[in-house]
């Protein structure tokens, strides 16, 4: 489905690349989590897949294939077609990703109609339906709300609703829960898992919560300083891996019932 072949991403010719020799293979319906310390290049990878690197950033080596086609050779037009339909994205703050002075509904309708042949009314109905699927109970009311009127958890669920409309083949998520409280985080994760079940969507998610990654994913990639230091399934990472960095990360995660030696 998605195959990243040995890419290197550089922001600055003279300094060390932000991401080096990164490879990843994602099967349909697979959930893959990227973990690692801040600045290790996780976001850069996701943005590269999205064709949305900051202007200075370029993929200087390697290639990314989506459904067998090289994403790096996509034109602006190609991107416009694939974005939001086959590849969707959820951000840390979905609210900020929406126009602050327009209602959720108007943006939802605009989005749906940009990619499909729907009347305004059909699009609206579809939007309401999607919002209710992510358990935002009063869909109509949500559609008429402005982003700033919603709580963080609601906004994130609206973000998922947006990402789900066109049943994307690939969902990219950059720390979608890190700004949320634990209870809301749990709601959110449940929605994402459901999306995978219902649409067979593959998910690549960035998180710094190792336990969360372990719970969700079929595949975990540990990154450090732009390189993959470890990767494998949950069992491998939690119990088998001998990688120092992985071990260090695991030991730092606070655990219920655990105690510091004081």
């Amino acid at each position: 489905m998605l195959e990243i072949q040995n890419i290197t991403i550089s922001f600055n010719k003279s300094s060390k690349p932000a991401v080096e020799n990164f490879s990843l293979y994602v099967k349909p319906g697979e959930i893959c989590c990227l973990v690692g310390e801040s600045g290790s290049g996780k976001t850069s990878v996701i943005r590269a897949i999205q064709g949305n690197l900051p202007v200075q950033g370029t993929v200087i080596q390697g290639d990314i294939f989506f459904e067998g086609q090289s994403l790096l050779r996509y034109t602006a037009n190609d991107w416009q077609k694939v974005r939001g339909t086959e590849i969707s994205m959820i951000f840390q703050d979905s609210g900020a990703m929406m126009n602050p002075i327009r209602t959720i509904g108007s943006q939802f309708v605009e989005y749906i109609r940009a990619h499909g042949d729907y009347t305004r009314k059909e699009a609206w109905g579809k939007g309401v339906q999607m919002l209710e699927r992510v358990r935002l109970h009063d869909g109509e009311h949500m559609m008429n709300s402005y982003p700033f009127q919603l709580s963080g958890g609601m906004k994130q669920r609206v973000g998922i609703a947006f990402a789900m409309v066109f049943q994307p083949k690939l969902l990219l998520a950059d720390e979608p829960t890190s700004a949320l409280d634990v209870t809301t985080q749990a709601q959110m994760i449940r929605q994402m898992m459901k999306l995978r079940e219902e649409c067979g969507t593959s998910i690549i998610m960035i998180t710094h919560n190792l336990a969360l990654a372990a719970y969700m994913s079929d595949h975990i990639v540990v990154m450090k300083k732009g390189e993959i230091t470890d990767s494998g399934d949950r069992n491998h990472i939690l119990h088998i891996s001998q990688d120092d960095y992985t071990k260090k990360l695991l030991s730092a995660v606070p655990s219920l019932g655990g105690h510091y030696d004081v």
């Binding site: 949305n52 994205m89 951000f91 703050d93 900020a96 990703m97 929406m98 602050p100 989005y111 940009a114």
Partner: protein
């Protein structure tokens, strides 16, 4: 805006007007020169001391300051701003005569300014650091640095005198008469706003919601016109109201150059003639118009920006 905020704003306007009234009245009270003599001088005669004294008494100029102020205030509240020394007419009549030409000029130059600055500002931001951007920036740069009184004179010289395209004198009532003054007024403003629009659009282009809109696969034109532009122009709305106000005042220079029969021109001659009632009336009026316009603009802003509404 809720009724309460509107009411409080109106109250604020009234308080400010009182303050301004007190301020201008106080200033003219303290100003050198005798208003009676000034009044006579404006009529070309030199009164004897007895006449001056008699008139002072009649006009209440010998009363203590608070009495004078409250008399004046009382009259103002009844719509009587006194009689202009130099024009021998009620201040209100004079101001009303000049109001419309100035409003016309102001509105016309604002519209002109918008038609230039919005497209140019957006173009400049979208073509950031490309040739078009540099060209527009150069234009706007010249615009903010060139003195309008110089520009106006040059426009008269070239457009009216040499090319004979438009009349030299702007005293008439026709549409043609307002073009040159409006262009002179609009040019520096357009330059300023082009910069503002550019800066605002550039900033908005870096906002997360633009990334969001793009990741949803919206067309770039949709992103610019339906997402970026409304957000960029919104904060300019308030600024716009302010400009309207400063235009009302700033027209003085341009009106003088073009002999345009507006409020600014009137103010300048009122000052030269030391026509205190007229100066006071002018200042109060312009402040009032200005504040009312700003009230409307702020109300418009609140309607346009949903974030200002309470949940």
């Amino acid at each position: 805006m809720t009724k309460k905020t509107i009411a409080s704003r109106i109250l604020q306007i009234i308080i400010v007007l009182f303050g301004i009234g007190f301020f201008t009245f106080g200033l003219t009270y303290l100003a050198p020169g005798d208003p009676v003599k000034a009044m006579y001088a404006a009529n070309g005669s030199i009164p004897s001391e007895e006449v001056v004294e008699a008139v002072r008494k009649k006009m209440g100029l010998n009363d203590p300051f608070p009495v004078q102020y409250f008399n004046w205030l009382f009259n103002c509240l009844h719509g009587d701003f006194g009689t202009s020394y130099s024009l021998n007419k009620p201040v209100v009549t004079v101001l009303l005569q000049r109001l419309w030409p100035t409003l016309k000029l102001t509105l016309f130059s604002l519209i002109l300014m918008l038609f230039v600055s919005v497209p140019f500002g957006v173009l400049s931001a979208v073509k950031h650091n490309k040739a078009a951007d540099y060209l527009i920036r150069l234009f706007s740069f010249v615009g903010i640095s060139v003195p309008s009184f110089w520009l106006g004179v040059m426009l008269i010289y070239i457009v009216a005198l040499k090319l004979k395209l438009l009349p030299v004198i702007s005293t008439g009532t026709g549409f043609k008469n307002v073009i040159l003054p409006a262009v002179t007024l609009a040019f520096p403003m357009a330059a300023k706003y082009t910069r503002q629009v550019r800066a605002a659009v550039l900033e908005e282009l870096h906002q997360d919601y633009v990334v969001g809109a793009r990741t949803r696969g919206l067309k770039e034109s949709t992103v610019i016109w339906w997402h970026v532009l409304p957000n960029a122009l919104l904060p300019l709305v308030t600024l716009f109201g302010l400009s309207f106000g400063s235009l009302l005042g700033g027209t003085a220079v341009v009106e003088v150059i073009f002999s345009y029969p507006g409020l600014g021109n009137l103010a300048v001659s009122a000052v030269t003639a030391r026509d205190y009632p007229l100066i006071q009336g002018y200042v109060l009026w312009v402040a009032l118009i200005y504040m009312v316009i700003n009230l409307f603009v702020d109300a418009a802003y609140e309607i346009l920006d949903p974030r200002t509404k309470v949940r």
